[in-house]
Amino acid sequence: MGKIIEVRDLTKSYGEILAVDRISFEVNEGETFGFLGPNGAGKTTTIRMLTGLSKPTAGTARILGYDVESEAVKAKKRVGVVPEASNLYDELSASDNLMFMAQLYGVPRGMRREKVEELLKTFGLYERRNHLFGTFSRGMRRALTIASALTHDPKILFLDEPTVGLDVLAVRSLHNLIGNLHQQGVTIFLTTHYLEEADHLCDRIAILVKGKILRIDTPEALKSSAEEGSIIDVSFKSTPSKLVEDLSGILPELKIIATSQNNIRIYGGSPADVLEKVLHHAKSSSILIDSVNSVKPSLEDAFIKTTGLSPIIMAAEKGGGRR
């Protein structure tokens, strides 16, 4: 497998603000590569630089060997981009929107109609081909936006937060479509703040926080690295405001994180010792415990271990919530 994306010390700053801080990574041909991080981590800024929309402040990036600054047009011919917003034209029909994109990407005249119809069928929109984009549901808008990025059979597909704001069924359908594209050999570069999405779709994940890549690895390798020590989930009937701080005082050597309003997760230590101290604290503070579970590490645990961030931060972003 050849390197299809090569990024070296890529940096973007807006005045004093450093949005992307000397990141380096490579993406292999045919791979689904994920950028995972909270809002403001620099995911979209990176995609904008890789797709020629924004100029890097420093560093280099090559797409299929083409420099994204000096050979942007050559690179653009071979990539498809799905921005976070479904931004096709409301006033055009599904078919006309795809046709317009095929025209701009230089799909030969004789092949345009066939390609548009093929994509409409693949994405389950053929029956709605003459309906205006403005009348589509969010899921259909997303599907057509992805289809529009495929009119010229790109080698690489960039997907920026592809499932934000979609319902569960639409997410499942899009995940299947992305999976199919992956099987067809399309290299996929996606950004997401959904841990499950990254875990489900990606061959490798880069964890990005505050413009820096903290770690790049496969989901399995990330999860296994979080397996050192125990992980205990404690659920309370109700939670006093300073519970995490209080427990951190009692168990100073362990990492304790609130995973939701009435749940905490405790990393490391001997399960028996941890449980004894938590139960003792709950009893002395008159807090009712609902349940206690020992859990297998997930990508969320790997993310917490790598970044030190609470998953609540990820869930709070963009109104998407956790899935």
């Binding site: 020629g52 929309l53 100029k55 981009v81 921005p83 931004n87 006033e91 055009l92 701009l104 230089g106």
Partner: protein
């Protein structure tokens, strides 16, 4: 690369015509407004109406090209559609030129309609078509690019329309649409010669009076200069939006 750009310019202009221009609001600004303006003058003084025809055509060029041009770029920037165009293998100048030419082609359709109707209604058959074309084509590009420039100068859609009304109405009063420039005070004459509509109206008058001198070439050349003065800053400003 230039072939990609040419193809892109053509399809963007065609798409804009379909989605924005051939719609009632644009048509009403492009034709109805200049027509009612000129009719108001006709009702006041019905004599020598044919002398108002170059003004009517000039106003049609001005209002039809700027009617939607001052809106579409910010509208598409807000929706993200312009960003989508820039993700395709087209240069940023090509994308902006596609928008400008879309506005200019719509203006051309409106101008041809008004010109033919005026010629037929008033029997103005002695018109120099070459001169007419020499002045109309660069004028359409000038005012379309002026709309684009004012559009990228501001962030909100309504701001562009408001901002554009200032030069539009100043030009209507000062550039010889209704009153001859020579009858105005010297200071206003100087201001008039700094505005592109002056050269449009002057060239159109020469086309309708079958003038034999070559001043129309100067008018056309000055209009080309105005086009470059408007389009290059517009490209630069749009590029800055994506820094």
């Amino acid at each position: 690369m230039w072939r990609d750009d040419l193809r892109g310019i053509y399809f963007i202009a065609l798409k804009d015509l379909k989605t924005y221009y051939l719609k009632p609001p644009s048509i009403s600004w492009g034709i109805v407004f200049p027509l009612s303006w000129i009719l108001a003058f006709y009702l006041r003084n019905p004599q020598n109406f044919e002398q108002l025809v170059p003004g009517l055509i000039g106003m049609t060029i001005l209002f039809s090209t700027t009617a939607a041009e001052a809106v579409v770029i910010n509208f598409e920037l807000r929706l993200g559609s312009l960003e989508r165009l820039l993700l395709t293998p087209l240069s940023l100048p090509a994308v902006l030129l596609g928008k400008v030419i879309g506005g200019a082609v719509f203006g051309l359709l409106m101008t041809v309609t008004v010109t033919i109707a005026s010629i037929l209604a008033l029997g103005l058959y002695n018109v120099n078509i070459l001169y007419l074309a020499l002045v109309t084509v660069p004028s359409l590009l000038v005012f379309s690019s002026l709309g684009a420039l004012l559009c990228v100068l501001v962030k909100e859609v309504f701001e562009a329309q408001t901002l554009l009304n200032l030069p539009r109405f100043i030009m209507v009063f000062l550039c010889g649409v209704v009153y001859p420039i020579s009858a105005m005070p010297q200071i206003l004459q100087t201001i008039a010669y700094l505005m592109p509509l002056t050269y449009t109206i002057d060239g159109l008058r020469r086309a309708f009076t079958l003038s034999q001198d070559m001043t129309v070439l100067i008018d056309a050349s000055v209009l080309v200069v105005f086009f470059t003065v408007f389009i290059f800053p517009a490209i630069k400003l749009l590029d800055r939006r994506f820094e």
